[in-house]
């Protein structure tokens, strides 16, 4: 385990922003952080970065706390975009990388390579405030990983981007992971987490309400669904034991079932009713899990 967050609690006065949070990420892993606004994601990140000290608990990166001595190993993309609006892109990327102990020459070379990769090589001499939001976001991402950190923390990296740019940034992040970096990122977008991560945590008001590998979370959540598309009346099937919920759809029906065995029973019974056009066992999406875990508190 490369990044260890152990029973971390952060209190601001009487307010508990993060409550007994634990998580571990293997070296080279990608961990998704889900949570509504104010769930404690940014506070957790700030504690990982060492900007805030936890009230209780410890954060360890490769066995050591994160301080300014190992800050060059860390890359950070804050939720709110953080760049000098009036400074030229290349100049500030080089400056920020130098602060993370990268040499000027290396920083310049890498900046050029990254701008090239993001198809904006001519932006080096532009001021940040002249760029569109999407392009600023690209620069922001470059700023977080230019110095080749081994731990990359991305707070909402894809917010406010068009789908083309989201794809471009996703690929860049995945490539960066392949080079060996450990990545933690937060998002409102469950599909991004589902697509990129192996592990995740769902945060609700400072507490982890679900965490671990995505597969396991989905398993333990249960709530498998069977989608049947056929014209016959399917309402009779809802009486089969193990069917927890039954919803009529345009093309047939959706059943929530207790476990995979029930799906087989459903299929057998459905085939007796008529012609089956479509049968599928569906895992719950993260979105459903999220709404189930967090949504009810917000409703």
């Amino acid at each position: 385990m490369a990044l260890h967050v152990e029973q971390v609690t952060k209190k601001f006065g009487d307010f508990t922003a993060v409550d007994n949070l634990s998580m571990s990420i293997e070296e080279g892993g990608m961990h998704g952080f889900l949570g509504a606004n104010g769930a404690g994601k940014t506070t957790t990140f700030r504690m990982i970065l060492g900007l805030l000290d936890p009230t209780h608990g410890t954060v360890r990166w490769k066995g050591k706390p994160i301080t300014y001595s190992n800050s060059p190993e860390i890359g950070y993309l804050p939720e709110e975009r953080g760049l000098y609006p009036k400074m030229k892109v290349e100049e500030q990327l080089v400056y920020l990388a130098q602060l993370r102990k990268m040499s000027k020459a290396d920083a310049k070379r890498e900046t050029a390579a990254w701008l090239e990769r993001f198809e904006v090589p001519h932006y080096g001499q532009k001021k940040v405030e002249e760029l569109s939001k999407g392009n600023q976001q690209k620069i922001q991402l470059i700023a977080s990983l230019l110095h080749k950190p081994s731990l990359l923390i991305l707070d909402e990296p894809f917010s406010g981007l068009d789908p083309v740019n989201v794809e471009m940034l996703k690929r860049a992040i995945l490539d960066f992971q392949k080079q060996g970096a450990t990545i933690v990122f937060s998002s409102h977008r469950m599909d991004h987490v589902e697509e990129l991560c192996d592990d995740m945590s769902i945060l609700d008001r400072g507490k982890v309400v679900a965490g671990g590998s995505i597969k396991k979370v989905k398993r333990s959540f249960g709530k498998l669904k069977v989608r049947l598309n056929m014209d016959a009346d399917l309402s009779g099937l809802s009486k089969i034991s193990g069917v927890e919920n039954f919803t009529k759809t345009k093309d047939g029906a959706l059943f929530q079932i207790a476990d995979e065995d029930v799906a087989q029973v459903l299929l057998a019974n459905a085939m007796n009713l008529g012609t089956l056009r479509h049968f599928a066992v569906e895992e719950p999406s993260l979105e459903e899990i999220f709404i189930a875990k967090v949504g009810k508190n917000h409703a």
């Binding site: 952060k10 601001f12 006065g13 700030r46 970065l49 060492g50 900007l51 805030l52 000290d53 009230t55 300014y68 800050s71 060059p72 860390i74 950070y76 804050p78 709110e80 975009r81 953080g82 760049l83 000098y84 609006p85 400074m87 500030q92 400056y95 920020l96 130098q98 602060l99 993370r100 102990k101 700023a143 977080s144």
Partner: protein, 416 residues
């Protein structure tokens, strides 16, 4: 240390390269050249009006005009005497028409007399010169009639020795004082402007970094305290550089103007007897004043979330600076006043006021040293305190814009 210099360099270079900085510097230096050359410029304009130096004389004596000319020449006044044969009415008409400025009626009814007529009282200045010349002419004539020779005349008009001496030990001689006054005034003005200008720059910088959220990246790379002091030092160096450019600009301006430092305008400013120690004190007190307020400005800048709120929060600090300057400026005429002495040991006023006292009085060395010591301690305490506020302040966002947030910031910084 590596990152300290990178921040230092960045704070210095990005500011030094801004258009506003370059333009401000150039404009000030240019205005120095303009100021230094004012006498030349005035002369250039006046050169066209040769009439200025011509004095029309209506001679009612037995031809004393050439001798009057001799007196003017002896005085090196450059006035040319031209006898006129017009009547007084005609001359007065010429004055009101503007063809001549003035004229002199020279009479001799047993004794030499003269009447000087000019359009307005403004010409009175040259009237004094003319009176002196006529007086000299009279003396020469009288001496001649008494049969005195030149050396006897010389003895008669030998000026007496008149010396002013002040009893108070710390007070400088009258001559030194008036000379010091101008220079001290200029230097206090410079320090005052610089101490408003540069700390403001720091507060704006910090607030910009915070509002643009680049601060979070910065302080996750380097410690906020290092960041703060590197920035203060960077902009301080910029300030010294700019002051040096001003100083050199002023020096060359005076050089090229071709005026002697001991003449006219500059003798009033006291540049004739420049004491290096005064400049050293000026630099020292500027630095102390700067660091004191720079730390305060960084602290205040770290509290706001939007650059628009900076000025509001800076107001109390500005008031401190202004009070200090008011005491210092009022002290120029009464440097020994009690309130001046007291405030020269109060840290927030001390740099300006103690500099004034050092400049205007002959103080025992321990006084400025004590004041410097007090300031160093204050800067130390403020630096420690500022660093604590800064650490929390830079992480604080929201509609915070009051001094109460200092407590919140310290709490956040302490949690760290």
């Amino acid at each position: 240390m590596h990152s300290f210099w990178i921040i230092f360099k960045q704070a210095f270079l990005t500011k030094a390269r801004t258009k506003s900085f370059i333009i401000t510097t150039l404009v000030v230096v240019a205005s120095f050249f303009l100021l230094a050359n004012i006498p030349n410029i005035i002369a250039a304009f006046e050169g066209d009006e040769a009439e200025e130096n011509v004095l029309h004389v209506l001679d009612e004596t037995a031809g004393l005009v050439p001798e009057l000319q001799t007196q003017f020449d002896l005085m090196d006044s450059g006035i040319e005497v031209v006898p006129t044969y017009l009547t007084e009415e005609e001359l007065q008409e010429s004055i009101s028409e503007g063809t001549i400025d003035d004229y002199l009626v020279l009479t001799q009814n047993g004794q030499l007399g003269a009447r000087y007529i000019s359009e307005s009282a403004n010409e009175m200045g040259s009237g004094i010169e003319i009176e002196t010349a006529v007086q000299a002419l009279h003396t020469a004539l009288t001496a001649e009639s008494l049969g005195l020779d030149d050396s006897q005349v010389g003895q008669l008009f030998m000026p007496v020795e008149f010396e002013r001496q002040a009893i108070s030990e710390s007070s400088k001689s009258q001559e030194e004082l008036s000379q010091a006054r101008g220079l001290v005034y200029v230097l206090i003005m410079l320090i005052y402007v610089a101490v408003i200008y540069y700390p403001n720059m720091i507060a704006m910088e910090v607030a910009t970094e915070k509002s643009s959220r680049v601060m979070e990246i910065l302080i996750s790379s380097v410690s906020p305290v290092k960041h703060m002091f590197a920035k203060i030092l960077g902009i301080g160096t910029l300030g010294i550089l700019q002051m040096m450019i001003f100083g050199l600009g002023g020096y060359f301006a005076i050089q090229t103007a071709g005026t002697d430092l001991t003449e006219g305008f500059f003798s009033v400013m006291g540049f004739s007897e420049v004491k290096i120690s005064l400049f050293l004190f000026a630099i020292l007190f500027f630095l102390l004043d700067y660091f004191l307020y720079a730390v305060l400005a960084a602290l205040l800048g770290s509290l706001v979330s939007r650059t628009e709120d900076v000025q509001q929060l800076m107001l109390p600090m500005m008031i401190l600076i202004i009070i200090g300057s008011l005491i210092a400026f009022s002290g120029i005429s009464i440097p020994e006043a009690g309130y001046v002495t007291v405030s020269s040991f109060i840290p927030f006023f001390a740099p300006l006021v103690m500099f004034l006292r050092v400049g205007m009085l002959d103080l025992p060395l321990w006084e400025p040293l004590l004041s410097i010591g007090i300031m160093l301690v204050t800067i130390g305490i403020l630096g420690w305190f500022g660093a604590r506020v800064y650490r929390g302040g830079v992480l604080m966002y929201g509609s915070s814009q009051s001094l109460k947030d200092i407590r919140k910031a310290i709490r956040l910084g302490n949690n760290k």
